[in-house]
Symmetry: C2
Subunit: 418 residues, 2 copies
């Protein structure tokens, strides 16, 4: 079967008015890429039944020439401006019915809140409805039921809630197996590596172009630029090819390559029962925030110091005023003294300090905007300091600095492991 | 003239592959909303000249029945996969020429980097090209020139670079005056207020529906849900009507209404030369990060403590172990003791503490998931503590807690001002 022409539709006036950002479409496109499919188009529409219907009619028309897979989010909620079900019924000429399982679930939710079944408003009940003769997608997070509606030969319209947590669970657990069944294809394997502080185009020239003939036949590749690192993605039905690419990548970039540092750092600190504390100047708490993003981080993150002013560097972390005066707050010496202070006050296994110039002001000829020193003290007592000049604006410099600090932690944990 | 049917197009395979998020379309829609226009559709396409051309042809066809304004970003860069100019030339049957001013600008940029004019690659030079007989939109940030191409009666295709900083400058400084000239209309005024810890639908029912007949004729309204607050937007050509709405809103919600707290807190702390320090448990640095997002925050933010573990609450902030044992880490007493500790150690004018259960684990019957205590000590020495039960997942609870802490700071600063 020809691969389907895939369109992703997001409905919601809050999106087309620019008051809310649609993150669902990109997330789904990414999932579909991992399944080996490319999306041809995103469409975003306001909550306007005429506009939605006309768009769906155009897609239905298109199914006459090729298989179409349309994935739509939003418009399944309980409010007046939720039109998805109504529009799909108009498109198909079908009637809807209430899914028994979803009705029981809704009833239980109401009862757990001390309400009666009879309190359920018709608009709320409508969320349990789907068109006749469609494939139902259960919602295990919220109330609105999703569904897969046939719209032509090998062509389907998938409707899912717009709430990201509901859509994601439904997509992963319910829709993905269904799509694999409808559009069978060879199993794809995907490998991802991160490269630190290197530009996308340099990587493309020095690695992808340089090895294209020798390594890349039958391999799809992609690259995403992030703050501090690029994510290199490789996809193929042939695992051996991918392993060869990864091994080449590792030998070409031994010092700047990593796996997902956020996941690795979390898992490794938990597994080895190691603790960590931080001291942040220019990042103002961003590193601590990132270290506590994951549930369970309390097993390793014990705390830290936000020493934004020089006075706080002295009083909270005992950085000698001599050092601040002689070398400045953004210096190897200050980063090192901060790390010693964090370690003394917290007794953590790992201590990390960040001090830098996030701007927009404060840059000089010798310490330009973006200059950041990062100190790291390992469980064996050794201290390393690293300096960087990060590009971009204030936000970019702060993101770069805190991500790179996690990369240094990754490297240190990795060395211990070896 | 009939208001134009507005379509926003983003081109870029990195977007339709889900590797990059399109923030341009929403930003433009928001700007257009402020000009009084609603967008009918967003379209996102991969870097595929056939797909782009076919979409533009559909829009050109549509101009036969109504005025169309299409705003497209991306595809004007120097790489192989930039197809916008080529596609527009195919659509219009026109030729392109190099804009003299842009050529000179490009030459200067090259010279400032120590390169020759002759070093400029043809693909780079292409960025100075526009179709014949179009309105040029200068690029003062980057190189690629934007343009407004007529595509039918009162209908235009606007092409701008995809780099957000370039597009935004071009939109604001070059395109907006042009749009006002092409589609003249009465001046709109916009007012925005924030309401804290109230649901969108409750606000809609209790305020908008309740006052619809009396206050809302000739007024457009919108609402955006954020973490901890909703943003209420009102728009009209009649300022008096807006002022009446705002005054009614203030009298109905005196305790939970605010302006943009991020801006107000920053400006007020700078203006009054007040300092602030924080102590964070469950937010792990997020409040410090938010307080240092704006350039110039070093004038008020001096530092803080990340006391994630109970040991750190004791050793860094001197929270008595009795309090932690008797009342727990998430309690009024701990929030108060934290605030006292912050104040003693930093001597800041304002001290703010946050301690709560961000989950997913740790909730109990008496302290459910989302329970957060916030303490605030004002310059006059008074301490207030507030408790909340925030909804959602870990990320949502942490965002809610840190935003609400800023709202408490807002209220305290506002009271001083009165």
């Amino acid at each position: 079967m020809e691969p389907p022409y895939i369109v992703i539709i997001a409905s919601g006036s809050e999106i087309t008015a620019g008051r809310s950002l649609d993150t669902n479409s990109g997330w789904m496109a990414n999932q579909l890429f991992e399944l080996g499919w490319k999306v041809k188009k995103f469409i975003t529409l306001p909550d306007d039944p005429d506009l939605i219907l006309s768009e769906l009619q155009t897609l239905k028309e298109l199914t006459k020439s090729k298989p179409v897979l349309a994935l739509m989010t939003g418009g399944l909620g309980p409010t007046e401006d939720d039109y998805t079900l109504e529009t799909v019924l108009k498109l198909s000429g079908k009637k809807s019915y209430s899914v028994e399982k979803a009705k029981i679930r809704l009833q239980r939710i109401y009862e757990s809140r001390g309400k009666q079944y009879s309190d359920i408003l018709p608009t709320v009940m409508r969320q349990t409805h789907v068109p006749e003769d469609c494939k139902i997608l259960d919602n295990n997070v919220g109330i609105a039921v999703g569904f897969v509606e046939p719209i032509g030969v090998d062509s389907y319209l998938v409707c899912m809630p717009g709430v990201p947590s509901e859509m994601k669970e439904m997509f992963t657990r319910r829709l993905t197996p269904e799509l694999k069944r409808i559009y069978p294809r060879e199993n794809l394997v995907q490998k991802t590596k991160w490269l630190w502080n290197i530009g996308e185009s340099l990587y493309q020239k020095d690695f992808v172009e340089a090895h294209r003939d020798e390594l890349f036949s039958g391999v799809e590749w992609g690259v995403t630029a992030n703050r501090g690192y690029i994510k290199c993605i490789f996809q193929s039905t042939d695992l051996a090819k991918l392993e060869k690419i990864i091994s080449e990548l590792e030998s070409q970039y031994p010092k700047i390559i990593s796996d997902d540092v956020f996941t690795f750092v979390h898992e490794e600190l938990v597994a080895k029962k190691l603790t960590i504390a931080v001291g942040e100047s220019c990042t103002g708490g961003l590193l601590g925030k990132k270290l506590t993003d994951s549930p369970g981080s309390s097993s390793y993150f014990i705390g830290g110091f936000l020493t934004y002013s020089n006075e706080m560097k002295e009083s909270l972390l005992g950085v000698p005023s001599d050092i601040l005066n002689q070398f400045g707050a953004v210096s190897r010496e200050t980063a090192e003294a901060m790390v010693r202070g964090i370690s003394e006050k917290t007794k953590a296994d790992y201590s990390i300090s960040i001090t830098g110039i996030a701007g927009p002001d404060g840059g000089t000829d010798t310490k330009p905007l973006g200059t950041v020193w990062i100190g790291i003290k390992s469980p064996d007592g050794s201290i390393e300091t690293h300096s960087y000049i990060f590009p971009g604006n204030r936000e970019s410099i702060r993101e770069n600095a805190s991500n790179t600090a996690l990369f240094l932690l990754y490297q240190s944990l990795k060395q211990r492991k070896v």
